[in-house]
């Protein structure tokens, strides 16, 4: 066969000569074509429509199943961080309003909610979950407008998780007797819940769903910069037919929160937010019978060993610190990379950061949206300036320039940072990463644990035994292996030390809302 082919080739030699000429010509042409300009692929703006959302200019409090004006008539503005414009006015709840809300919750607890069966409670939670799914787009757009997070995240992460938390906890409502085998469980009563601005609706779901499933009534205070999605949830709750008073939502700032957690008729306080406020709440509740869970700050370590899958570890690190503009309590804000691959790794990280799209949160191609408020932006800038003054190697990059209006911060990191550096120890709560190196697994664990916090950690290695051994040594509530920022309602979440007390999510998340006898 081979011989035949070769013979044929000989026979065709003359013919081939002509073809060869043609061939040469084409190669010349091909070379010419190489000088053509490359295709510059600029993504046109792809804005999510805001038509689905109707924002009321003035938003009242949600007490006893109804929207009521604040007694003192005081309102404050909430701003769209994407453009810095006022979105709406929101009621500021006074001590009197908070008292009304707590009374409504107490009454609902005593007259209806503690009287009905778990299956009945579950029915309401399932209904709320389905209604959230039906209005998912509306919730996502509103969340992005009020918070500044990219629509991609509110659409694909926040809102689906919100529905998932209601579904998950709805399933527990009639199975509480099996959650803690051999024990008798009872609800606590009225829970005061104060939540942060980084995942406004998701934090509301984390708080409300387990509390209701366990048979408690709640008064929830959303953060003053992001109250709108919780108020839309109030509308959904109202339409779901949930008995009045089971969920009350009071908006306001620190003073409103203080009235709420200090109210004498509260059985349980759940707070997610800064460690500073968490400590104040711990002091305030110390002399009472109130149960307390705190989910506070973090300075979570991301350990990358030299035998890690590096390209995926880069994605994990990027997701770990730049997800939600870095406004994540469990953000992987300290990168500990094995010294042998530190150079390669930071080069790749720099390259990757140049592809990050900072921009209008409503643009579907935006990877990093707006910083939630001007105050937070100033805080982040102060941190960055401080770290630069301390002399750490600064790097910042993005694929797009931030819009001129609104609050934006480019993703950045500080390299070759020492454990003593401020940027390595203090929580920035922004898109700012601190990078340091280690030599051995023991050193990695020691450096990761060298923090007053202990919320989360990430470990990257292709060697499972190494991951196991490292994870056992880490003092953190959540440890991700070869991934980061994965959330699931069935998985408990919470911290060590200054990162908080108690767990939310999973079976563990029911415990703080129950008297277990």
């Amino acid at each position: 066969m081979l011989d035949k082919m070769i013979k044929k080739k000989e026979k065709n030699k003359h013919k081939d000569k002509d073809k060869k000429k043609h061939h040469d010509k084409k190669i010349v042409e091909a070379k010419k074509r190489k000088s053509h300009k490359n295709f510059q692929f600029e993504y046109s703006e792809s804005l999510e429509s805001t038509d689905v959302v109707k924002i009321q200019p003035k938003n009242a409090l949600f007490i006893n199943g109804e929207f009521v004006e604040p007694t003192e008539g005081s309102y404050f503005p909430t701003i769209n961080p994407g453009d810095g414009e006022v979105l709406a006015e929101v009621a500021e709840a006074s001590a009197k309003d908070v008292d009304m809300a707590v009374r409504a919750a107490r009454k609902a607890y005593e007259t209806t909610w503690s009287k009905i069966s778990g299956a009945e409670r579950g029915k309401y939670l399932f209904r709320i979950a389905r209604m959230i799914q039906e209005r998912a787009r509306e919730f996502a757009v509103l969340e992005t407008l009020d918070n500044g997070k990219p629509i991609k995240e509110s659409r694909d992460v926040d809102i689906p998780l919100v529905a998932a938390h209601f579904f998950y906890n709805a399933g527990w409502a009639d199975k509480l007797d099996f959650a803690f085998p051999g024990k008798k469980v009872q609800p606590l009563g009225v829970a005061a819940q104060v939540i942060p601005w980084n995942f406004p609706l998701l934090m509301a779901a984390w708080k409300i769903a387990p509390a209701l499933a366990a048979g408690n009534c709640v008064v929830l205070k959303p953060a003053e910069t992001t109250p709108l999605s919780a108020l839309l949830l109030a509308e959904v709750i109202q339409q779901s037919g949930l008995p009045p008073g089971v969920v009350n939502i009071v908006t306001g700032a620190g003073a409103t929160g203080s009235h709420l957690v200090n109210h004498p008729d509260i059985n349980k306080v759940a707070f997610t937010g800064s460690t500073q406020v968490g400590k104040m709440i711990a002091k305030a509740t110390a002399k009472t019978n109130k149960r307390l869970t705190l989910e506070l700050g973090g300075k979570s370590a991301h350990i990358v060993y030299e035998d890690a899958a590096i390209d995926q570890a880069i994605e994990g690190v990027v997701n770990g610190i730049f997800f939600n503009q870095g406004h994540v309590c469990c953000a992987g804000s300290r990168l500990l990379v094995e010294e042998s691959i530190a150079q390669v790794f930071t080069d790749k990280l720099k390259d990757r950061m140049q592809k990050i799209r900072v921009g209008n949160p409503l643009d579907k191609n935006t990877d990093i949206g707006a910083i939630n408020s001007h105050r937070e932006l100033e805080k982040i800038r102060d941190f960055v300036n401080g770290a630069r003054e301390e002399g750490w190697d600064y790097f910042s990059a993005s694929a797009t320039e931030a819009p001129s209006r609104g609050f934006y911060h480019k993703p950045c990191f500080f390299n070759h940072v020492a454990s003593s550096a401020t940027v390595f120890r203090k929580e920035v709560f922004g898109p700012v990463l601190a990078i340091s190196t280690f030599r051995t697994p023991a050193e990695a664990i020691a450096k990761a644990n060298d923090t007053p916090y202990g919320l989360a950690a990430g470990v990257w290695s292709e060697k499972a035994s190494k991951i196991q051994k490292t994870a056992l040594g880490l003092k953190a509530g959540v440890i991700w292996a070869n991934t980061y920022n994965k959330f699931d309602p069935s998985s408990p979440f919470g911290g060590y030390n200054e990162s908080g007390w108690g767990r939310e999510g999973g079976r563990h998340g029911l415990y703080p809302y129950l008297e277990v006898q």
Partner: protein
């Protein structure tokens, strides 16, 4: 990066093959990221035109005939002949539809393609080396390549020796690529890894480096005869390898996903991935190609839609 495997190159030189493990979950997650990009308006139209200029219009059937190849070449030259006059060509936003990058045929069909494409800048790619299995002696594979080149092919799409690769005989795989590259002469060499037979991303990554070290001008996912053919994650792993190779050698190797890319939406996802993993330097037919047959008509349909704002009757585009 871990170097634990070597091949011997010219003059007994030991060449380490970078072995960089790939996390499957992470790679697939990252690939899915590109399906979330929202390419609209002008950027979509630009991308669609670019896609046409990057297509290797392919027919690889036992039933291929000179007539069939001639027809495909006509379509390759003028995807929409100017004589077809409808409101598209009169539209102020309409631009001339470019030719495809190349046609891809079996060696025996190369003379017919060469004749049909004479005087054009369209490349002629041929799948030599006992395509698709590659399970023939090397001499025959080399003869296959020489024949294709002598008939006028200026791009050779070879298959790697998967039998040798999967038995751990990387030296044989490497040596075969080197010899085939020599047999190619001036013709560009695309090395098909047949990722659907390698199955793990670790192996795809390793095979990519092996092919590039042996002199591949392009690395290509699949023959199109094995399922799965091209996927976003497997292409991502290969793009990452191309990037690492570029960073260590300064050589830009091209990428060709082939098989299974049927519509514009998928093709645009690939473009976004190349754009964000390798950068715009790779967004040229010299460094990025689509191996496809049915993709072209969908892209034409979408271009017409994007320009005029309405979908056209399918029959307006010839089947081949």
């Amino acid at each position: 990066m871990i170097h634990d495997r070597f091949v011997t190159g010219h003059g007994g030189r030991k060449i380490p093959i970078p072995y960089q493990p790939v996390d499957q979950v992470g790679a697939e997650e990252r690939a899915a990221f590109f399906t979330k990009r929202s390419i609209k308006k002008e950027s979509k139209l630009d991308a669609l035109y670019a896609i046409i200029s990057m297509i290797d219009l392919t027919t690889l059937e036992g039933a291929d005939t000179p007539g069939r190849v001639r027809q495909m070449c006509a379509k390759a030259k003028f995807p929409v002949p100017s004589g077809i006059d409808h409101d598209f060509s009169k539209h102020p936003k309409a631009r001339a539809v470019p030719s495809v990058a190349a046609v891809c045929v079996y060696p025996s069909m190369v003379p017919h393609a060469a004749k049909a494409l004479q005087g054009t800048a369209i490349h002629i790619a041929s799948v030599a080396t006992a395509f698709p299995a590659g399970q023939l002696p090397l001499e025959i594979k080399l003869a296959d390549v020489r024949a294709a080149v002598s008939y006028g092919a200026d791009e050779i799409d070879m298959v790697i020796n998967r039998g040798a690769f999967l038995s751990g005989d990387y030296q044989t795989v490497f040596d075969e690529i080197i010899q085939i590259k020599e047999a190619c002469g001036d013709a560009h060499l695309k090395v098909i890894l047949e990722t659907g037979e390698l199955l793990t991303y670790d192996r795809v990554q390793f095979a990519s480096h092996l092919a590039m070290l042996a002199g591949a001008d392009f690395i290509k996912t699949s023959t199109g005869k094995v399922t799965p053919a091209a996927t976003l994650p497997v292409t991502l792993v290969m793009l990452n390898a191309i990037k690492d190779y570029y960073q260590s050698t300064g050589v830009r190797v091209g990428m060709k996903p082939a098989g299974g890319i049927r519509d514009s939406k998928m093709a645009i996802q690939y473009l976004c991935m190349v754009n964000e993993v390798l950068g715009p330097e790779w967004l040229t037919p010299d460094l990025f190609r689509f191996g496809a047959s049915s993709l072209l008509n969908d892209v034409l349909k979408q271009i017409y839609k994007q320009v005029t704002g309405r979908y056209y009757y399918d029959k307006i585009f010839s089947i081949d």
